[in-house]
């Protein structure tokens, strides 16, 4: 039996999942990796997971790395399932793992976007824990992760939307603390919205320009554009019934109005959680020819504000450019700077 006495699964062991999972394995916890990329499963079985941290490289043997197609051979159920797939893969992944979740187990969505409701729809709110994850990492080669934030610089927030789930949050905190600072919040929905405020400016605009985040921010007009995206997201958060709350280790005193707070959250990401060469998850997806989370981030802001008859021109413009890039109608690159900064004139 592991120190915590819980059976833990990581579903989605890409850059973030395997980086975090490796910390839990080294802490002696009972961890199973479940992964969809065959070459990555094979590499981890053969050589373990290699995590390249800023100051050291750590290779951790992975006792159990399963391919998705082997899930149907599982006999035991899991107490804690960490889900680290793209937000758009949440529903099918949670459906896949549902038969292997203990009756009193929890699914923890360590993802961008408001995936909490997708998870709850499948396993029930009493087994759903939402989470905010703030760390940067990438993987371009099977079995090898570059994690840009060591555990002392990684930050997580956890919370249930149902009292029964909230009761189990401390167990999850105990497991996850091996990978970073973990706060349990009593309003996870608001915390996830705050992360989305940072993501709305950060993720897609820098990817449209095909630049590392720090380089994109230095281009004239881009920082202002990102802050406008964040402000719209903050308005969407409030329209959705959430509050502006401190995340990333900020204090309540540091939470100002929606305008300033959007800029401050983006500043936190840039100062504390990214390196000069950090590429966002959206750019990494596009480099691999894969879909990105633009609809789950900027698209959500547009949809939520539309419900109250409000517009979100910066996010809508971001969504449209991302759509064109994914449809192959537009190439990502710095040549898009003017296009990005020029919002379409509203009709009428």
């Amino acid at each position: 039996m592991s120190p915590l006495g819980k059976k833990i699964a990581f579903v989605g062991t890409g850059a973030q999942g395997s980086g975090i999972g490796a910390d839990l394995i080294r802490a002696g916890l009972d961890v199973t990796f479940i992964e969809q990329w065959p070459a990555h499963v094979e590499a981890m079985r053969a050589r373990g997971i290699e995590v390249r941290l800023p100051l050291e490289t750590v290779i951790t043997p992975v006792p159990t790395a399963l391919h998705l197609c082997e899930v149907a051979a599982l006999r035991e159920k899991f107490d804690i399932v960490f889900v680290l797939v793209k937000a758009y893969d949440t529903r099918w992944t949670v459906e896949l793992i549902r038969p292997y979740l203990a009756d009193d187990g929890v699914v923890v969505g360590l993802q961008n976007g408001m995936s909490i409701d997708d998870i709850a729809a499948v396993v029930g709110p009493e087994r759903t824990i939402g989470a905010v994850i703030e760390m940067a990492s990438n993987m371009y080669e099977p079995g090898v992760v570059t994690r840009q934030n060591a555990p002392e610089n990684s930050w997580f927030a956890l919370g249930g939307v149902h009292p029964e789930a909230q009761r189990r949050a401390p167990d999850v905190q105990e497991a996850l603390q091996h990978a970073g600072t973990v706060e349990v919040t009593d309003d996870i929905r608001s915390s996830k919205w705050m992360k989305l405020v940072a993501n709305a400016g950060e993720l897609v605009p820098s990817a449209i320009l095909d630049e590392a985040l720090a380089d994109a921010v230095r281009m004239p007009g881009v920082h202002e554009f990102m802050v406008e995206c964040g402000k719209e997201a903050a308005r969407a958060a409030v329209a959705d019934g959430s509050r502006l709350v401190p995340i990333f280790g900020l204090t309540a005193e540091q939470v100002t109005g929606p305008e300033q707070y959007a800029a401050d959250l983006l500043g936190e990401v840039l100062d504390k959680y990214s390196l000069p060469d950090t590429r966002t998850t959206v750019l990494q997806d596009w480099m691999k020819g894969r879909h990105s989370e633009y609809l789950e981030v900027n698209g959500l802001v547009v949809d939520v504000l539309a419900r109250t008859g409000e517009v979100a021109p910066y996010n809508a413009h971001t969504v449209e450019l991302a759509r064109r890039i994914e449809a192959g109608e537009l190439e990502r690159g710095p040549q898009n700077l003017d296009l990005l900064l020029t919002l379409p004139v509203p009709a009428g």
């Binding site: 065959p38 391919h67 149907a72 038969p99 997806d285």
Partner: protein, 341 residues
């Protein structure tokens, strides 16, 4: 129509068989599959379908599940040939890649049609009954016991808006067998469930090919008992008995003997020597079977409708013991089956 984009979601033994037929017909079809070695084998040396009197070899377009996120275009028709218990997650997985006016057809066992509809909407859902016998022992190679001449499908929609699309799916499946378009697909799938409840799990529990299992004294008793309970639960649910699987209108007018007749017809027309059921194949691979989607559905629907189902409960219990590793499939299990039921 010729530029219709088609996907096979789940290219195991049955899915690969149909995918090979559609590829050979020159259609625009992509075989999506979760088993990495099978995808690699199909890419490296193509897909081989060994049938009793001929062998089909094609070079299909294939895609591993993890590559679905690289898809740009949407599919007009997706034929899903996953295990029944994988229906919902597989439908969720493919939903973003199904055209607004596309069709997702669940070509599988179990009463999966409504579950699929809950994901993609009833207007984009087609229910299907499939009658093919095949196995895959090594990646890239399928042994299909029943070629197109001996394969049979029924297709139906559960929403009037999908009715005009039945022919789109039928047209595809006609490359792989005889296709019947039916008005009540739920009742048709329940007929198949009666047949499956009778044959699949009971014969798998004794660990034998279907042909050999039925020669065991008293196994037939269990099989027919399970089938009759399924018949009664279906009647309580309002599903009429239908003249399919070789049954005549007279046969289905005699509920007392219909399960025996169905079993005899099945063995005469579809069961081939050496063929093992999908359930036994799963157990041999140490995987979960569809027992909960077949006999388990008879039990849960029976409980809901107040119809006792002791035989199916026993079948489910023994199957679960096998899946928990407490016992192995084998003729000795017949005692446990008789004792419990």
């Amino acid at each position: 129509m010729s530029d219709q984009k088609i996907a096979i979601l789940g290219s195991g033994a049955n899915g690969a068989s149909i995918g090979a037929d559609l590829t050979a017909a020159g259609l625009d079809v992509t075989l999506i599959e979760q088993w990495p070695a099978h995808v690699e084998a199909m890419r490296a040396s193509g897909l081989t379908i060994e049938m009793p009197d001929t062998t089909l070899h094609v070079e299909p377009r294939t895609m591993h599940l993890c590559e679905v996120a690289t898809l740009r275009a949407r599919f007009d028709v997706v034929l899903m040939l996953m295990k029944a218990y994988d229906s919902v997650w597989a439908a969720e997985l493919i939903r973003p890649y199904l055209a607004e006016d596309g069709i997702l057809a669940g070509v599988q066992n179990g009463m999966s049609t409504d579950a699929i509809a809950s994901v993609v909407g009833p207007g984009r859902t087609m229910g299907t009954v499939i009658e093919i016998s095949s196995t895959m022992s090594e990646p890239g190679v399928v042994r299909r016991h029943s070629g197109p001449a001996r394969s049979w499908f029924a297709i139906g929609s559960i929403d009037p808006s999908a009715e005009p699309r039945r022919e789109d799916v039928a047209k595809l499946l006609r490359h792989s067998g005889t296709v019947e378009i039916v008005d009540d697909i739920r009742a048709t799938k329940w007929m198949k469930l009666i047949s499956n409840a009778t044959v699949l799990v009971p014969t798998a529990i004794v660990g034998l090919p279907m042909f050999d299992a039925i020669t065991l004294p008293r196994l037939r008793e269990v099989m027919v008992g399970a089938g009759r309970e399924a018949r009664d639960v279906g009647a309580a649910a309002g599903y009429p008995l239908l003249p399919i699987f070789g049954l005549s209108a007279e046969d289905v007018a005699q509920p007392d003997s219909v399960v025996d007749t169905l079993l005899d017809e099945l063995y005469e027309r579809f069961v081939l020597p050496g063929a093992t059921t999908t359930v036994l194949q799963d157990w041999t691979k140490n995987r979960h079977s569809e027992v909960d989607d077949i006999n388990g559905t008879v039990v849960s629907e029976g409980a809901r409708l107040g119809v006792p189902t002791p035989v199916n409960s026993a079948v489910v219990e023994v199957a679960h013991r096998i899946e928990r590793g407490e016992m192995d499939p084998g003729p000795a299990n017949l005692d446990a089956l008789l004792r419990l039921s």
